[in-house]
């Protein structure tokens, strides 16, 4: 089947960066909040930089929460997208989508936000095909997901946390592959090739 990539458009920042990164890879994607187009896509990317409670409220108003939960094609949540795919976030005491059975906590040690390049460890699965242990990726976040059974990569910042997770067709990264240089682009390419 031909790849028909959709980037979910909602009230969060950083959506354009993902689109630009895909274009650099020669991949065209549609940025849309249309539920029919999202459901019909072969791959769905759920990006985002923003605040959990307001973005979650927006998704509910648009009915996008139900749409995302019922997707069966590969889905990639990025940063806030990943956190919204968890059960609950300490940010704004928010009930989230619950795809990953884990909470999202606030960093209580070290400088916050955790901002910059950190190393990936314990990589597993197709998302990290040809990506080496110790590869650096770019992070900007103040809340984190502890390691849990869904974790497929970790990083360390005062504690070990989930750099990436997977549950069935749902994939997610806490870091920003679209800003993580050539390895970030490789991770995006791996997702598109799943």
């Amino acid at each position: 089947m031909e790849n028909n990539i959709v980037i979910i458009k909602y009230n969060a920042g950083n959506i354009r960066s993902v689109d630009f990164a895909l274009r650099r890879l020669g991949i065209s994607a549609e940025v849309t909040g249309d539920p029919d187009k999202i459901r019909a896509a072969s791959k769905v990317i759920f990006p985002g930089v923003g605040e959990a409670s307001s973005t979650m409220a927006h998704l509910r108003r648009q009915g996008l929460d139900i749409v995302i939960l019922n997707l069966t094609q590969p889905v990639l949540g990025i940063c806030l997208g990943m956190q919204l795919m968890c059960k609950y976030s300490e940010e704004g005491e928010t009930d989230c989508l619950g795809i990953f059975d884990t909470g999202v906590l606030k960093f209580t040690k070290g400088k916050v936000p955790h901002m910059g390049w950190n190393a990936l460890e314990g990589l597993s699965g197709g998302l990290f095909e040809k990506v080496n242990e110790g590869t650096y990726v770019y992070y900007v976040h103040s809340f984190f997901v502890p390691e849990n059974p869904h974790t497929i990569a970790s990083s360390f910042y005062s504690t070990r946390f989930s750099a990436a997770m997977q549950h069935d067709n749902f994939f997610a990264t806490q870091f920003h592959p679209e800003k993580s240089g050539s390895y970030g682009e490789l991770i995006l390419k791996n997702f598109i090739s799943l």
Partner: protein
């Protein structure tokens, strides 16, 4: 481990990269996107573009340039020099900037920090502080180092953090352009005092200066311009040197 960041800074005038010493004697050296792409390949961790254009077309020009950078560069970049109002910040965000840096505008209107942080998040906002030591205190300057304010460096740094700055970019005007090392003592004081990342700027001349700013200066990131532009220090060699001296860097 979180890596220490190496950040080349590109001054942009009328859409071209320029470089001068102590904010004067500007020389044109090339296209902002080409320069950024080259630095990214060299292993730069982030880029800072500082627009010093002062014409009426500035705002439109800058948004177009930011979009072109966002399309072509695969690492994060900060844009400074074009933000006086909340709408300017929004325009740069939607053009694709990862962060913006503000300086003079927030000295004249500190509430702008709160507004930007609330609207787009602290992670989007770097507050740049230029300061110079005189008569026993560090005086904060605005307008590219031309106008002294009545602010003191450490008080102002605390205030911008409390108002919601995500990072502080401190330039010692005494050290800038003279390549004798960063203002490590002051940087360490800011870094110890505040729970947000500190970017050191002004004074890099040798790889040892970078090592010093990450150890003695406790900086989270080091910014430099001329040593990178004129190839006096190569980023891959610098990172290897830092790694061999037990600094965590992305290689």
């Amino acid at each position: 481990m979180l890596a220490k960041r190496i950040i080349p800074c590109l001054d942009v005038l009328d859409g071209k990269v320029v470089k001068g010493v102590n904010f004067i004697n500007l020389k044109e050296i090339g296209d902002p996107v080409d320069h950024g792409a080259w630095y990214s390949e060299q292993g730069a961790d982030e880029l800072v573009y500082l627009d010093i254009t002062a014409t009426h077309e500035k705002r439109k020009l800058l948004a177009g340039l930011v979009r072109r950078i966002a399309e072509n560069i695969n690492i994060p970049f900060t844009v400074g020099g074009g933000v006086n109002h909340l709408q300017d910040a929004e325009a740069l965000l939607s053009a694709g900037a990862d962060k913006i840096s503000v300086n003079s505008a927030v000295l004249m209107n500190p509430a702008l920090i709160d507004q930007i942080a609330k609207s787009f998040g602290s992670q989007f906002l770097v507050v740049a502080i230029d300061a110079k030591y005189a008569d026993g205190r560090w005086v904060v300057y605005r307008n590219g180092g031309r106008i002294a304010t009545d602010r003191e460096l450490f008080e102002w740094a605390s205030e911008v953090w409390m108002r919601g700055a995500g990072e502080i970019l401190f330039t010692s005007m005494d050290h800038d352009g003279v390549k004798t090392g960063y203002a490590c003592k002051e940087l360490a004081m800011i870094s110890d005092m505040l729970p947000i990342p500190v970017i050191a700027s002004g004074g890099a001349g040798t790889p040892e200066h970078f090592l010093e700013v990450f150890t003695k200066g406790k900086a989270d990131a080091a910014l430099a311009a001329s040593v990178f532009h004129y190839n006096e220090i190569s980023i891959p060699e610098l990172k290897n040197y830092l790694k061999n001296n037990n600094i965590t860097v992305r290689i």
